[in-house]
């Protein structure tokens, strides 16, 4: 497939400085700005964190419906209206998609899993152990206390909660294809990207206040490895409180924080679709 050059208008945040006479940020030097970055369909991948939809239907736990029904409806909207069209166009243009599936059992059934895991094993073959610290199991003595908040907040433990989900599968519109990549560890993602010369990641998925940032393969794992990460703002969603739902303040603040610390840029999927369209026009430069 022909390699296309994409010019993407990415939003970054310039930290600027403080005017210590007032103790206030200098609004002239600080703020969001757009920077055009150039990348190609070959050196770029789209990642999706935890895109499977969990149906919450087990009887007896209706008290949690408020929290999950709100979340689920917004997630479905993002998937169908934003992620699915992006995947469709990106696949046509030859951009590869990696599914971050940490915690999903079905990952092992994907035809590419073994290949990717072998790449990861090879990448680590000559490296020393990364840490010498105690495993979480060493905290068995305070297991009851550690579960306290879940009992207070959710009414059961995290593992019990997963039992109340009746299904965990990707909607048809974004389900992984045999040629896609799947990963559950950061090293798996990094190994397959290195193998294919990929250094730019367009990140989508769920949720912006948790796994998208902190789970293996998420922003905070990939950015320190040198990847240029761009979050596709309309293809991510976050849990919200009733008082933050208007304007999706939690999602907005999480993205603003990452911009502020220089971890990522932000883009709307429409801008990527437009860049793909422009790159595909006759006479446009390809490499």
């Amino acid at each position: 497939m022909q390699e296309l050059t994409l010019k993407l208008p990415v939003r970054y945040y310039r930290r600027g400085g403080v005017d210590w006479r007032t103790g206030r940020l200098d609004a002239k030097s600080a703020g969001e700005f757009v920077k055009e970055i150039t990348l190609t369909t070959k050196n770029t991948a789209i990642t999706i964190m935890h895109g499977a939809v969990r149906e919450f239907g087990r009887p007896g736990r209706s008290g949690l419906e408020n929290y999950f029904s709100d979340w689920r409806s917004r997630q479905s909207e993002v998937i169908e209206q934003h992620i699915a069209p992006l995947f469709q166009k990106a696949r046509k243009a030859g951009i590869r998609i990696l599914y971050n599936m940490a915690g999903y059992e079905r990952i092992h059934a994907h035809p590419n899993y073994t290949m990717i895991n072998n790449l990861a094993i090879r990448a680590l073959a000559d490296k020393p152990d990364t840490v010498q610290g105690p495993p979480d199991a060493a905290f068995g003595y305070c297991a009851d206390k550690a579960k306290d908040l879940w009992r207070d907040s959710v009414g059961c433990s995290a593992s019990e909660l997963s039992g109340y989900f009746t299904a965990t599968q990707y909607p048809e519109s974004i389900s992984p294809r045999p040629e896609d990549w799947v990963a559950e560890e950061t090293v798996q993602s990094a190994a397959v990207f290195r193998e294919h010369g990929i250094g730019n990641l367009l990140m989508t998925g769920f949720d912006a206040c948790g796994c998208l940032m902190t789970t293996a393969g998420g922003l905070l794992h990939m950015a320190p490895l040198g990847y240029r990460c761009v979050i596709v703002e309309d293809c991510v969603e976050a849990a919200e409180a009733p008082w933050t739902r208007e304007g999706k303040r939690v999602k907005a603040c999480m993205l603003k924080t990452m911009q502020l610390f220089g971890m990522c840029g932000i883009i709307h999927s429409n801008a990527i679709l437009k860049a793909l369209e422009d790159a595909g026009k006759p006479g446009e430069r390809t490499i």
Binding site: G16, G23, N66, W150, A190, G199, G210, A241, G262
Partner: protein, 297 residues
């Protein structure tokens, strides 16, 4: 020494989709107070002024209440940068320095004093600074627990990053930050005692917590939205191990021009830690008051 301390904890009740409160009790022998990035940035005003660092009094604003006499232990960092120094530019990017100093002086110092009195262990997290090397207890720990970190994973060429950082932070940002990290240390009024713990990553923190059977951790420090949340010893690393309490009045976030007015990034980060990361939040002032209460005394 062991004492039971009870205080009010806040959490997010998903069923009601609102905050809820409950009284909890911790035992000082199984509790640690974790101070994250409680640095000397913003302290030592005399040196700043003498060096004409920023060409003005950095603490002329009302947030900068409180001063420390000059000439304290020279072990603490020397922030006497030249006016044109890149350090000065780096410092100017941390708009929360005055807030951090105020919180250290007014909230964290009294809490640490009370915690020591009750027998609560103090742990300093200072990842990213070289200052850890100055403390003998860190060397001893580092011999036992080392973290080689992400260097072991396949990297890609991140040359683009320098160009971006020059633009969004300042020219030669990493070099300036590296220089700064050499002189940052723990804030003077929070000077560690020989038996305090100094850690530079969560592996070391967890080693000490589990070896000492610590089950409750009180989290204070900066920044609410990054260091406390996401760093190598960030709170998300602890949410599967201990019971965690974020001290709402002992932390502040680095804010932006569009969030600083209402400290939105701090408030949102607190909510996310309560609702998604399985943490309680509490008031450091209340805990200190409880420890110092006449009945207990």
């Amino acid at each position: 020494m062991s004492a039971n301390i009870s205080f009010q904890a806040r959490y997010y009740l998903r069923e009601k989709m609102d905050h809820a409160y409950k009284k909890v009790a911790v035992n000082s022998a199984s509790t640690a107070l974790l101070l994250r990035h409680t640095s000397n940035l913003g302290f030592d005003q005399e040196k700043f002024k003498r060096a004409n660092l920023l060409g003005m009094d950095m603490y002329a604003n009302p947030l900068g209440a409180g001063r420390y006499p000059d000439g304290h232990d020279k072990r603490y960092s020397d922030l006497s940068f030249k006016k044109e120094s890149p350090y000065a530019k780096v410092l100017a990017m941390f708009e929360n320095i005055p807030r951090m100093r105020k919180i250290i002086e007014e909230e964290i110092v009294p809490l640490v004093k009370a915690a020591r009195k009750a027998g609560i262990r103090i742990m300093y997290v200072i990842d990213g600074w070289e200052a850890a090397c100055k403390y003998p207890q860190w060397h001893e720990l580092n011999r036992k627990v080392t973290a080689l970190g992400p260097d072991c994973l396949p990297h890609v060429d991140g040359a683009w990053r320098k160009e971006l950082e020059d633009e969004i932070f300042m020219p030669n940002f990493q070099e300036a930050l590296a220089e700064l990290s050499r002189v940052i240390d723990i804030a003077p009024p929070l000077e560690p005692l020989p038996d305090d713990w100094i850690v530079t990553n969560h592996y070391q923190a967890k080693y000490l917590l589990s070896a000492n059977k610590i089950s409750d951790v009180l989290h204070a420090g900066f920044d609410t939205n990054f260091g406390m949340f996401y760093s190598i010893a960030g709170i998300h690393r602890f949410c599967r191990t201990t019971r965690n309490f974020i001290l709402r009045d002992c932390t502040t976030a680095l804010e932006r021009t569009d969030t600083v007015q209402q400290e939105q990034l701090k408030e949102t980060s607190l909510w996310v830690m309560e609702a998604a990361l399985r943490c309680y939040s509490a008031s450091g002032k209340e805990i200190a008051r409880e420890i110092n209460s006449p009945i207990r005394a």
